[in-house]
């Protein structure tokens, strides 16, 4: 397999497929557009699979590296490569793309080609973010991935979609522009290199590190999103079509967290240690406060959106305790959240497609009319609440274990949210699914069809597989995480 530019394929196959789908044009060719989109998504996953099978778990070095000169004027390179931290996300993203295309199969009736093309192109760009090893290349993918999601929310979204699309775009752009300046500053400091791996070695004083860390923090905190810059997420989720919500929750949120691992920790290790109290506090606020906010939501999508913020709080908490257990737990949590939140949004989408409401109060007794759906929904609600044997449990448990090592009260605060998390998810589940049939809309619901069943199975395999046997995931991360920790432990102040 060596010599095949696998990462380039993982990036460009979906993007090219996207343009092919776009070329089918008007809605007369919608069935063709759907078939092409699905083939493109499947092809995207197929070219990504060798990344896992050919992955060497024993080395922390970058693998499948591709290095070509791109803009010699600024020493910018087309430099790709993955390690144990980024490789799982390329796979996750390629996998999620298939579910997203399937999720919009019957629901999206207008401008089908553009819709599917948007997701395929975004999938390629997201793969690019996870595999870029050049600062500018990373930034270019990072920012251009905003365009498809902006259009998807704005064109196929709900009533308040324009507001949500603008808020999403401008919030993220605000963060990424400061990030761009940080990249340019590093370019100057490192003597003219945009290579992220070079930057890991660049010595920096405490003041520089602090400013860089804060610039990274703004960019990534918005993307994660962390409290208090999380407000765009509930709006974006509520207004986005189901597919948009799935990608947003499953992949887009991971970009911020991934950025912390790729940029903040290794480039500014001293500042990371110095400011870890800040990040831990913000994470705890996200976990506890946002957990309670989720409890009072009347809109199901908003509830899951807030629960996403709380779950991502676990991720950032895990990172900033600087232990292998914490970081691996956080990574597991990220992937698990990709499956679980994706599935949760899909479940809500299934109900919304039928009853055109996301309000909890409009439902009740769904189990009577949709028993198969209720079973799947139960599984994912449990996973969202962190029930053992589901993937949600593994990550949170690892992070909490790491937190006990770090500081008992941090662990106590974080663990207490297992209860809140269970409360808001299961209470929502109870109100929506159980009880007598609430109204004639619920009575008219029809159970899931084959396509929806297939999507649920795909998500369930991911969520349960990771919960029962997480080792294939943790195994690939191990040496990369240890290498990262070794970096973070070394001071860069000279």
């Amino acid at each position: 397999m060596s010599g095949t530019p696998l990462l380039s394929l993982a990036i460009w196959v979906p993007i090219l497929a996207g343009f092919v789908v776009l070329a089918t044009g008007s809605d007369r060719n919608a069935p063709l557009a759907r078939m092409l989109a699905l083939s493109g998504a499947v092809a995207g996953l197929l070219v990504a699979i060798p990344l896992y099978t050919g992955f060497d778990v024993h080395t922390p070095a970058m693998q499948f590296v591709e290095l070509h000169s791109w803009i010699p004027r600024f020493n910018v390179n087309y430099h790709l490569g993955v390690d144990g931290i980024s490789m799982p996300f390329v796979l996750l993203n390629s996998f999620i793309t298939i579910t997203v295309i399937l999720a919009g199969w019957q629901v999206i009736g207008s401008r089908v080609a553009q819709y599917n093309a948007g997701f395929l192109i975004m999938s390629g760009l997201l793969n690019g973010i996870f595999s870029a090893l050049d600062g500018v290349l990373f930034y270019v993918f990072f920012e251009s991935s905003l365009i498809p999601l902006y259009l998807i929310i704005g064109i196929w979204g709900g009533a308040n979609r324009v507001y949500a699309a603008f808020k999403f775009f401008l919030f993220t752009l605000m963060g990424s522009l400061l990030f761009l300046l940080a990249l340019l500053y590093l370019f100057v400091q490192s003597g003219g290199s945009f290579s992220i791996l070079d930057w890991h070695q660049t010595p920096l004083g405490m003041t520089e590190q602090t400013w860089l860390f804060l610039a990274f923090l703004v960019a990534f905190a918005v993307k994660v999103p962390m409290w208090p810059v999380h407000t765009w997420l509930p709006d974006a989720h509520v207004e986005a079509p189901t597919g948009g919500s799935i990608v947003l929750a499953a992949i887009a949120l991971k970009l911020g967290a991934y950025g912390f691992l790729r940029f903040s920790l290794p480039i500014a290790p001293d500042a990371s240690h110095e400011l870890s109290w800040l990040l831990i506090s913000l994470s705890l606020i996200a976990i506890i406060y946002i957990g309670f906010v989720a409890l009072v939501q009347a809109d199901m999508k908003k509830l899951v959106a807030y629960s996403s913020i709380a779950h991502m709080g676990f991720v950032t908490l895990g990172f900033f305790m600087f232990s292998a257990l914490g970081i691996e737990g956080a990574l597991v949590q990220m992937i698990s959240h990709g499956f679980v939140s994706g599935a949760m949004f899909f479940s809500i989408g299934v109900m919304y497609d039928r009853a055109h409401s996301r309000q909890i109060a409009d439902y009740g007794g769904v189990v009577n009319t949709m028993p198969k759906f209720a079973a799947f929904f139960m599984l994912f609600a449990m996973a969202n609440a962190g029930l053992p044997a589901t993937s949600g449990f593994v990550g949170e448990f690892m992070v909490i274990l790491a937190a006990v090592d770090h500081n008992f009260w941090v662990a106590f605060a974080a663990a207490s949210t297992m209860i809140v998390g269970a409360a808001y998810t299961l209470w929502m589940y109870k109100r929506v699914v159980f009880g007598p049939v609430a109204n004639h809309h619920v009575a008219e619901l029809t159970d899931i069809n084959g396509r929806e069943f297939l999507i649920f199975v795909l998500f369930a395999v991911g969520a349960l597989g990771m919960g029962l046997y997480p080792q294939p995931f943790t195994e690939v991360m191990h040496s990369s995480v240890n290498e990262l920790l070794r970096h973070v432990a070394l001071s860069k102040i000279q």
Partner: protein, 495 residues
């Protein structure tokens, strides 16, 4: 002095053959037009385009890449000049293709004078670009400006156009006055108007500093006016809005290249010793322009007016590259900084041509289509042209993979390398604000329902060119290296 001692050197005409060719052709076309019966003026159109192509050939053939002076050092031929001239021809060719349909629908504009005036404006730009003397700059500038005043007023029954022309003329004359006054002070301080000579005398320190600084202030004000940066920007929105769109398209594109050239000629070639003084002034102008341009653009409902404010902010951003050339008397960043500005202005012209071209594409039957509302639901009327316009908007907003990103990137890189971090932060914050109104255009095209559902009718050549323009914005955004190094190389060989 006897007659024999008065040496008369025949200037090396070969160096200026492109200008001479342009002048002769413009006059010839004016005469041919007397005998043309065709209402559509096809012959004139073709002749004009061929003239521009011919000028490009001449420029290409005579350009040696070496710096050479002629006309008693009033004229300079160098690589930067050649590159900018070739881009000016290209831009004017595109402008004429885009404008063709528009002017044919307006009886008063569909005349030979339109083409002749465009050619004279082009000649003015060429003279500006190749000037090595303050008076040559002035002559070129006036030739350009007078042609543009006439072009703006050409649709003479239109009240807004006449008003815009009047405003443009009065304020433009004021700016020319400022510029001349500044030049006279430079002359008073140094005793010469020849740019390289001015630089030499300043270098040897034999100039009156007070007069020089006063002169510089007037000079910079004049330049700021022509570039349209705050606080000398008042004419931009009115002229962009009031002028016939075909003329707005011309004003918004090629003259920016020429204006960039005279900034380099005057400030860098001539007054580099005073870099500290003019850089401070330009920083102020740049920050004000980005602030006013980006904030005022949000409030506009007319696309031409919005783009006018956007032009103000873009010129402010372009100035950022020029203010970072010399840091603490150290000019080692100069090439990097000036070439980033050059790249910026070229890419701006490219996307500006595309956006105004799109307004022309939608205009039909003698009606304008320059309100934001006219773009509603464009995605349903024509997905491809909506996509092209979207690319232009994202490029102007500085979002990758479009060329505008690398323009902003290279300027910001120069600013950060020179150590002006605060300036870079100000610049990105205003770009963030600016992003809002570009996104709004995308929103109008993609999220709103169309008011007018008629499909787009446009000549095939225009459609093809428009598509090429959009693809160029995207392709240069993916492969910016060639253009970037061309800018750097041209400046390296010319400074």
């Amino acid at each position: 002095m006897t007659l024999a001692e008065m040496q008369f050197q025949i200037p090396d005409l070969r160096l200026a053959s492109a200008e001479i060719f342009m002048l002769l052709m413009a006059c010839t076309i004016l005469i041919i037009d007397l005998f043309v019966k065709d209402q559509r003026r096809t012959v004139i159109f073709v002749a004009t385009q061929l003239t521009l192509v011919g000028a490009a050939v001449v420029t290409f053939a005579t350009g040696s890449g070496e710096i050479a002076y002629t006309f008693s050092n009033m004229y300079v031929a160098d690589l930067m000049g050649d590159v900018l001239k070739l881009l000016v021809y290209l831009t004017v060719i595109i402008v004429l293709f885009y404008s063709r349909g528009y002017i044919l629908e307006r009886e008063q504009m569909a005349r030979g004078e339109y083409y002749v005036l465009v050619l004279f404006a082009t000649l003015g730009m060429m003279v500006m670009i190749s000037a090595n003397h303050f008076l040559t700059i002035y002559v070129g500038l006036e030739l350009l400006s007078l042609s543009l005043y006439a072009l703006v007023a050409m649709n003479r029954d239109s009240v807004p156009a006449t008003e815009a022309a009047m405003k443009y003329f009065v304020l433009g004359s004021l700016a020319s006055g400022l510029l001349l006054y500044g030049m006279s002070m430079i002359y008073g301080a140094t005793g010469t108007l020849e740019i390289t000579e001015v630089a030499g005398r300043l270098y040897s320190g034999q100039a009156n500093q007070t007069i020089l600084v006063f002169g510089l202030v007037f000079l910079v004000s004049g330049i700021a006016f022509k570039l349209g940066v705050v606080p000398f920007h008042m004419w931009i929105p009115d002229v962009y809005h009031g002028a016939p769109t075909a003329v707005t398209l011309l004003i918004a594109t090629a003259p920016k290249l020429a204006a960039f050239a005279i900034v380099i000629r005057m400030l860098v070639n001539g007054l580099i010793v005073m870099a500290h003084d003019w850089q401070t002034m330009l920083i102020l102008l740049a920050v004000l322009s980005m602030a006013v341009g980006n904030i005022a653009a949000i409030a506009q409902t007319n696309l031409k007016r919005m783009l006018a404010y956007s032009a103000i902010s873009h010129m402010g951003f372009m100035l950022l590259g020029l203010v970072t050339g010399v840091v603490d008397g150290d000019a080692r960043f100069a090439l990097n900084a000036y070439s980033s500005s050059m790249f910026y202005v070229i890419t701006y012209v490219l996307s500006s041509a595309g956006t105004f071209g799109m307004i022309l594409l939608l205009a039909r039957g003698g009606l304008e289509s320059d309100e934001l509302e006219d773009f509603k639901g464009l995605n349903k009327r024509s997905p491809w042209f909506a996509a092209v316009m979207m690319m232009m908007m994202f490029s102007m907003a500085g979002v990758p993979f479009f060329v505008g990103f690398f323009a902003k990137f290279s300027v910001l890189q120069a600013v950060v390398a020179a150590g002006y971090l605060w300036l870079a932060i100000v610049a990105v914050l205003f770009s963030l604000i600016g992003c809002f109104y570009y996104l709004r255009v995308v929103k109008i095209m993609y999220f709103d329902e169309p008011i007018n559902t008629t499909p787009i009718h446009a000549p095939m050549d225009m459609k093809v060119l428009m598509s090429a323009n959009g693809l160029a914005v995207a392709l240069l955004g993916i492969f910016p290296q060639a253009l970037m190094s061309l800018c750097a190389f041209a400046l390296l060989r010319s400074l």
